[in-house]
């Protein structure tokens, strides 16, 4: 696979443990006590969306559902709230996967912005139907930050898959 489909660079195949490790780190980042900081991005949504775009055969809606249940319990949100948002996010990311990777990174970010907004809107929707108060407009800033993080995150998470441009067969390591 290439970084983007228009690139001529071939990447190493992804190691499955790295996918789960990155999701675990994202979960830990989400569990940080940041309730006073509404701008904190939803790291799990970001990393999940990334792997659903890159590896839609490995990471599917089931992973999103499990992570969502964990997030619901950890945030003491309504059970099923994050699960629903993540399942929809995973589905639409995989749906867009074949298209997104033809674009350069900045335009990829524009593709995932509606997905992150949708994930937040779904959560606001299901909670407000059941009588919760509107959490304020700053709730929708987090998706913008997640979108901005798409470019650095792509470099970071693809790093283990790059191979050196000039291969030296005699290199000791």
């Amino acid at each position: 696979m290439q970084p983007t489909f228009s690139s001529s660079r071939i990447l190493l195949p992804v190691r499955p443990w790295f996918i789960y490790f990155s999701l675990f780190i994202a979960l830990l980042l989400n569990l940080l006590p940041t309730s006073d900081w509404p701008l904190m991005p939803d790291w799990v949504a970001l990393v999940l969306c990334f792997w659903c775009v890159r590896e839609f055969r490995r990471i599917r809606m089931g992973t999103g559902f499990l992570l969502g249940i964990v997030m619901d319990v950890a945030n003491s949100a309504a059970l099923g709230q994050h699960a629903l948002a993540y399942v929809l996010l995973a589905y639409f990311s995989a749906y867009l996967a074949r298209r997104i990777l033809w674009f350069p990174l900045s335009q990829q970010a524009l593709h995932v912005l509606p997905l992150f907004l949708m994930a937040q809107l779904v959560q606001v929707g299901v909670r407000m139907i059941t009588g919760a108060a509107f959490p304020g407009i700053e709730y929708f800033i987090a998706p913008l930050i997640e979108t901005a993080l798409w470019i650095p995150l792509t470099y970071l998470l693809l790093l283990p898959q790059y191979r050196p441009v000039e291969q030296d067969p005699n290199r000791p390591i």
Partner: protein, 314 residues
């Protein structure tokens, strides 16, 4: 060439169609949502998942807690001395009252016995250390480090040194979740100290509260203090709850709009006191006002099993 994936892509064996999977997961999510919010019976699932999530959560808290502790360690001597002096002064302030408290309590018990009244309940409970405030932006809750293992049960009231903080709403094996009185729909029955009027105060969800069901010409002013009335059988009477911050009287409506701020450090504190549930009241009036079907008597519940969540039922 170890890197290249030799397995051919699984063209035909890809599991169920994505749309079918999507419909399945969405249905399960919505079912869980309804079970949790409407029937309030998903707590076993929650407790099961919490067993796994709790250690992770504490792991994630460790760096922050370590930094805070390091900060405490390097707190200046001057600061500590000031703190100490303030505390000593505060203790001296309360000393005369405290010294006479046991005497007064004994006297009160004796007088009440003479009058044939029920003895006043004593406030006992456990100290809980606050782990964190939950990240859910739709509600106002905190998590403390005492859970099922410490004998905490849902419905117990929680106070701090200034007044009422909230109520335990969910209990996990090692932690429990407290809904603050400022949470939207959280209700506390109160009494105005100055006039003795009783009403209920509702959380608004934005850090303030509203005193409802007082007529537009009610005798209430800014800075009136509201204390728990104890009529609910959950909160002991007399704990400060809120202070009136603004009164809007509009003759077009039959009720005044009265806004209050909580007295307890509801949004910033580190330790709280979880009160034991009140014993079942003996002298309840025959139950006619709530459920006309009952003849009184047999459907008397213990207060701990009936947390005051009437307004949260929707």
């Amino acid at each position: 060439m170890a890197g290249i994936d030799h397995a051919p892509p699984p063209f035909f064996k890809q599991g169920p169609a994505p749309l079918a999977l999507l419909i399945f997961y969405v249905t399960v999510s919505l079912a869980l949502f309804v079970i949790d919010l409407k029937y309030k019976s998903a707590d076993t699932i929650r407790q099961g998942v919490a067993v796994v999530v709790d250690p992770l959560q504490r792991l994630a808290q460790t760096p922050g807690a370590a930094i805070a502790e390091a900060g405490d360690y390097f707190a200046s001597l001057d600061h500590l001395q000031q703190d100490n002096a303030t505390l000593r002064r505060a203790q001296l302030d309360t000393a005369p009252n405290l010294a006479r408290l046991s005497h007064l309590e004994a006297e009160n018990t004796r007088l009440r016995r003479l009058l044939g009244m029920k003895e006043r309940e004593r406030a006992e409970g456990k100290i809980g250390h606050i782990l964190f405030a939950t990240r859910d932006p739709f509600s106002r809750r905190i998590v403390v480090d005492k859970g099922l293992q410490a004998g905490i049960a849902a419905g117990q009231p929680v106070i701090d040194e200034a007044g009422v903080v909230g109520q335990v709403t969910r209990v996990f094996p090692l932690s429990s979740e407290i809904t603050l009185i400022t949470d939207k729909g959280q209700v506390v029955p109160v009494q105005v100290v100055r006039t003795g009027q009783r009403s209920v105060v509702y959380g608004l969800g934005d850090g303030t509260m509203e005193l409802r069901f007082l007529p537009a010409n009610a005798d209430i002013q800014e800075n009136d203090v509201l204390v728990t009335s104890g009529l609910d059988g959950i909160y002991l009477p007399g704990f400060p709850v809120a202070k009136v911050s603004r009164v809007e009287r509009d003759s077009a409506y039959s009720f005044a709009r009265i806004f209050c701020n909580p007295i307890a450090g509801v949004e910033n504190f580190s330790e709280v006191f979880i009160l034991d549930p009140r014993p079942a009241s003996e002298a309840k009036p025959p139950a006619t006002q709530e459920e006309p079907r009952g003849q009184g008597g047999e459907h008397r519940e213990t207060p701990s099993k009936k947390p005051k969540r009437a307004a949260r039922a929707h």
